[in-house]
Symmetry: C3
Subunit: 302 residues, 3 copies
């Protein structure tokens, strides 16, 4: 899990993902030689800070967003959120502006967020949760499991994938915006009719640690019933532990597939986490493993 | 009105419209022989659960959404809404899961909705209002007049339509998502510059039963003034009774035309109903008739 | 500044922009002869009420919305907002319906807006703030500086522009809807990778009168960091006074570029105003001048 640790140490608040993409690109270039199938790689300014890998003849695409929630400095010592981070006073934040490295503590609440850095921070500077990874026998804990685990799952999938797109998207935590051009590129080059969203969901009263990867029947948006039935049927026949999620809120890259000008079915499938969007996100290692196993099977059978 | 009764008996909560589309497809296949013009039919997995009919050389498209609001079972005995149904305790709901047919009563309120079915319902199961159609001399009452009447209007139009698209869309009640690919298909095959939304609106202080079909000058979204003027001018010259609607809220498939990458004018035109999104929606039969008459004229003159 | 005065006198509430576009078209037809480069003009029903000018070989597009906020008459003496106008009782409103010219005062508050016109106003009639332009030595004040100043900036740019699109969009104040088809047309005819939003922003605790044009690092949406860095770097090297804006709220035509199916970078750059969306919007003439200067430089260097 060396790569997972490296992914978790990367900073990449929505809008500022270029370093993360550079890292992924280098990793893919190095690792692709030992993967079962050599993917075609799409990368560079035409794709902004996204990265696409095409394996064989795709029927299905997997999307994993690489951006994270965080904060941006405003004027004086004010901060404003990027995406929907938990506002917990005392949380350590890190970043960098032209004057150098920044490490400071978050203060305030939803009404007004501030930092306690002794000097001013240049307006528009991104700050992330300071990382503190803890891996035990049952759980992984730290910041940004959402969605570094989804990215990790996608990279594990690459090792054996024969046919399919693996796509690393940006801006998911803050209103989206890369999915529309990614989908256009995919549909005009090697079109697909099915998509899986490799992302992390919430532990709730109905979705629990250690009960397997969650197949989401709905969040704020509702995938097509026919496609859900197909996925659940494959999952049932597999030996992989899974649970069904039914939520009224939340969204993912799936929203932009739903609203795209292509008839592409989509489903969110991911391990659940506790302490969402905090520095202490917590995921069951068994659930992460189920996620990895189920993606392998689905990408073959769908 | 046999077909209207059959339409009203169909279940088809947003996301689960495939049975409704199958019914419509069979109806169209049977009826098209007696229509004035034989349409070209687009149907099947490439169109998800939508259905498109192309008559002659279209200048204008009519869109009628086939999905309905409803509920979905969550965990324990919880329900969550699909679209925006009225939450009226005691309302009878019906559906089906793998254990068999379901008939139960809604309990709770906007804060938390529950069912009283003796056994658990599988998570993700769709429930609809139990249907109770009442047709009198002046009114039709029942669940899902929105938008079975809009579908009925579109089917009546098919009988004599010479040029135009008639399109049955999905997901309208829950955030949309089929309109973008339907519009792309239309524009790439037989493009149009005008669209009418065949849907049901609200009785308000300014829009009343028995005063004719409503031409909507705006809801949350605003059609282009030039197109509205053209429609109102045609309506005035006709003998059909109509009224003008000006609302601040609400939306329709028109929203997705407005936001589409095509310069297509749109307007919502439909009979008004009382008791919106309840099991007792109520529409004036005279207004429904005005709706049918006005669509015939507009599709010829526009 | 004769043209600016003429622009400010035009009415053009979102949805009803055709007179404004006609005016712009005539102005462009007349003025283009004295511009450095003769643009290709795209205008007419295929573009609804928008207007596009293509100069040379564009790398970047400038978008200026021509619509304004305002009000629409509903039933009885009710008004509903178009966009987000300030509701200030006693404000003079003007418009016209089939019975003639209208001049009346706004009454009520956010809960309910009314007019005091002696006769009824036809439902669906657009009303605008009565114009009262005041130009002093330091400031310009009046209604609709947002976005007549952005349009003025775009027209000034046309005088010397060698390569670039200058685009006049509609509906920006009320949910958008023209940007998607404008972007599609641009990308399919003479594609660009960069866009500047020529619009007016807010005076806040961090953005002040007389401190230069504002380069917006974010509003509700976040442009890509890489593009911001490029713009700020060019601005720093120029002699033009500018300030950086970091806001949590607000949007512009940039939102629709962000969500478009094209990988186009965008940034909002505009002078700040006080008394936003009121009849007394106020902009520093020096800031307006900085805006005009910075656009010239950016369109050359980007």
């Amino acid at each position: 899990m060396k790569i997972l640790n490296e992914l978790l140490e990367l900073k990449g608040v929505s809008g500022d993902e270029s370093a993360t993409t550079q890292f992924l690109y280098k990793y893919v270039e190095k690792q692709k030689k030992i993967w079962n199938v050599l993917p075609k790689i799409f990368f560079g300014e035409d794709f902004h800070d996204c990265l696409l890998l095409k394996f064989g003849n795709p029927r299905t695409a997997v999307f994993a967003h690489i951006d994270t929630i965080g904060f941006m400095s405003r004027y004086d010592n004010q901060l404003i959120p990027v995406g929907g981070p938990e506002i917990i006073p005392g949380t350590w934040l890190v970043g960098e502006d032209s004057l150098g490295a920044i490490r400071c503590r978050l203060q305030g609440d939803e009404e007004g967020i501030f930092h306690d850095f002794p000097r001013g921070i240049e307006p528009g500077t991104c700050l992330s949760f300071e990382q503190n990874i803890r891996i035990g026998s049952e759980f992984i804990e730290g910041a940004y499991l959402d969605n570094r685990l989804g990215v990790y799952n996608a990279l594990k999938l690459c090792e054996t994938l024969e046919n399919g797109w693996v796509v690393f998207s940006t801006y998911e935590e803050h209103g989206g915006g890369s999915m529309p051009f990614l989908l256009k590129f995919i549909q005009e080059n090697s079109p697909i009719k099915q998509a899986l969203i490799s992302d992390i969901t919430w532990v709730t009263e109905g979705v629990k640690h250690h009960e397997g990867v969650a197949i989401s029947i709905r969040d704020k948006f509702i995938p097509r019933r026919k496609f859900l039935d197909k996925i659940i049927s494959i999952a049932k026949k597999s030996q992989v532990q899974f649970q069904l999620e039914v939520e009224n809120y939340g969204g993912s890259d799936g929203r932009e597939i739903q609203n795209s000008p292509y008839a592409i079915d989509w489903c969110f499938i991911g391990a659940p986490e506790d302490h969402v969007h905090s520095p202490n996100e917590k995921v069951s290692l068994a659930d992460l493993n189920s996620m990895i196993e189920l993606y392998k099977i689905l990408m073959e059978k769908l």
